[in-house]
Amino acid sequence: MSQGFDAFVVARGHALRRFAHVLCGDPHLAEDLVQEVLARAHRRWERIEAMDLPEAYVRKAVVREYLSWRRRRSSTERAMAELPDRPQPPGPGHDPAHDLAARDEMWALLAGLPRAQRAVLVLRFYLDMTDEEIANTLGCAHPTVRAHASRALGRLRAAMADRSAPQTVEVSVERR
């Protein structure tokens, strides 16, 4: 059992950590998250390994752990009231500094989303999952996935628009 498990962790461990980092927003907490899920998977690895897609199973467990785990800590977490001061964007175009600032800003806004909305966005935009796959991972219906995505993207657009007014951004909620 252990050889197969060890090989999986060596081969896919870093990918799982990157995914968890994007999911929870903090590399140290991501490490904790992945360790916890893998430690639980260790004992049952023979059964997990026999599945068609063991990595998908583990990734699903990471998402579930994140959703539960983050809430256990939620009483000590505070939503971010103000984003850190950033340099004013120099204007439209492809200024690398502007792009970097915009990505940083988006990352900070992502951190403030409710966990389920954030998970939907990460599964959709980081893992390129379909809504059906996301629904399966989260254990919910397709309309719920779409509702979360719509609400989250709406919030992000509004926040980005507020911070970069008078610039406007195209609204495109529906997907797939």
Binding site: H14, E31, A39, H42, R72, S75, F125, L138, L153, V169
Partner: protein, 336 residues
């Protein structure tokens, strides 16, 4: 794909690329897996939680079922702190603190079993939604004082509400992006204040309905330790997944006044060690406190027992106190 969606994708991939490639993941996972196995064995051999929490004679500054005021009842005979030092006695079952409510309505998917803790004398129940997508988490806290809020992270508004029976309540909303924080609080009786915290997944009307539908219950505190002995004549101040602490029964107390047991990540031991049950520990005395740090080798964690210098305690008693602390399956190390 819109600009925001493209930016979102780029931001995620950029951060993913910044994740450092650690080399110790496999070893860490094996260590954690082994620790989980040990915890399962401990659990199998464990005893009931209910009899193990609070000291005999401790003034229980927490709410009890059927209590109408969240009273801080003093148990006779031993309710005052012995001026000669910290006294330790075996806990009694009837001193076990309980949370006095359960939700009468639940969000979609229902709630998981509550996690009940004590924070600065207030008893707090965290009800986690089973359905992480459609559900909503709710924290209910009960105490003898009007709730005090941390510095808000955004604009605050308060609005008067009426609960069943005409009880006045206040709905407090902190408008933060992207999800507002909602709190509803009211005075249930002369010495009991109730506060409910959630987010804007609940509407104001749903939160008021949730408050109106609370039902009496007796939910025990989720304790990180079973105690063979505990301080006499002190209030249980804090019980979390990693810590239990006690404060003087009277007068204002700061953290420096607390007797505490804290589970931590493993600590380095410097200096001579002493036997603490089946473990080894390091005892350190300063002008302000005495600490005994015990290496829980089989858990890869440490237990730190701290007694302020204002409560004199002998080495033998401190060792007896620490040796009687059994870590439960609910415990998690601080910062972990």
């Amino acid at each position: 794909m819109s600009d925001v969606e493209r930016l979102l994708r780029d931001a995620m991939h950029e951060r993913a690329e910044q994740t450092l490639a650690g080399t110790g993941l496999l070893a860490d996972v094996h260590r954690r897996s082994a620790r989980r196995d040990r915890r399962r064995r401990f659990k199998a051999a464990g005893v009931g939680l209910a009899t193990l929490l609070v000291a005999v004679g401790v003034v229980t500054g927490v709410v009890r079922p059927g209590g109408d005021d969240g009273s801080r009842r003093a148990v006779p005979a031993t309710a005052s702190l012995d001026p000669g030092g910290l006294r330790l006695l075996a806990p009694s079952a009837d001193g076990t603190p309980v949370f006095p409510y359960r939700p009468g309505v639940t969000p979609a998917g229902g709630f998981a079993a509550p996690v009940v803790s004590i924070e600065a004398g207030r008893i707090v129940a965290f009800y986690e939604a089973k359905d992480p997508v459609r559900g909503v988490d709710v924290t209910i806290s009960v105490g003898g004082e009007r709730p005090v809020f941390d510095a808000p992270a955004g604009p605050v508004s308060e609005k008067a509400q009426r609960l069943h029976g005409g009880r006045p309540a206040t709905l407090r909303t902190v408008s933060v992006s992207p999800a507002a924080q909602l709190s509803l609080y009211w005075q249930e009786s002369p010495a009991r204040w109730v506060r409910i915290d959630t987010d804007d997944t609940f509407t104001a009307a749903e939160l008021v309905n949730f408050a109106n539908r609370l039902e009496p219950a007796s939910v025990p505190v989720t304790a990180p330790f079973r105690l063979d002995v505990a301080p006499v004549g002190m209030l249980l101040d804090t019980v979390t997944a990693s810590m239990m602490s006690w404060r003087p029964a009277t007068g204002a107390a700061t953290n420096a006044d607390l007797v505490s047991c804290v589970l931590t990540r493993p600590r380095t031991h410097a200096g001579p060690t002493t036997t603490v049950g089946r473990y080894r520990g390091t005892l350190r005395r300063t002008a302000t406190e005495t600490t005994l740090t015990v290496a829980l080798d089989d858990r890869d964690q440490s237990l730190v027992v701290r007694v302020p210098a204002r409560y004199p305690i002998s080495d033998a008693d401190l060792v007896r106190f620490a040796a009687g602390v059994d870590v439960t399956d609910h415990a998690e190390p601080a910062g972990g």
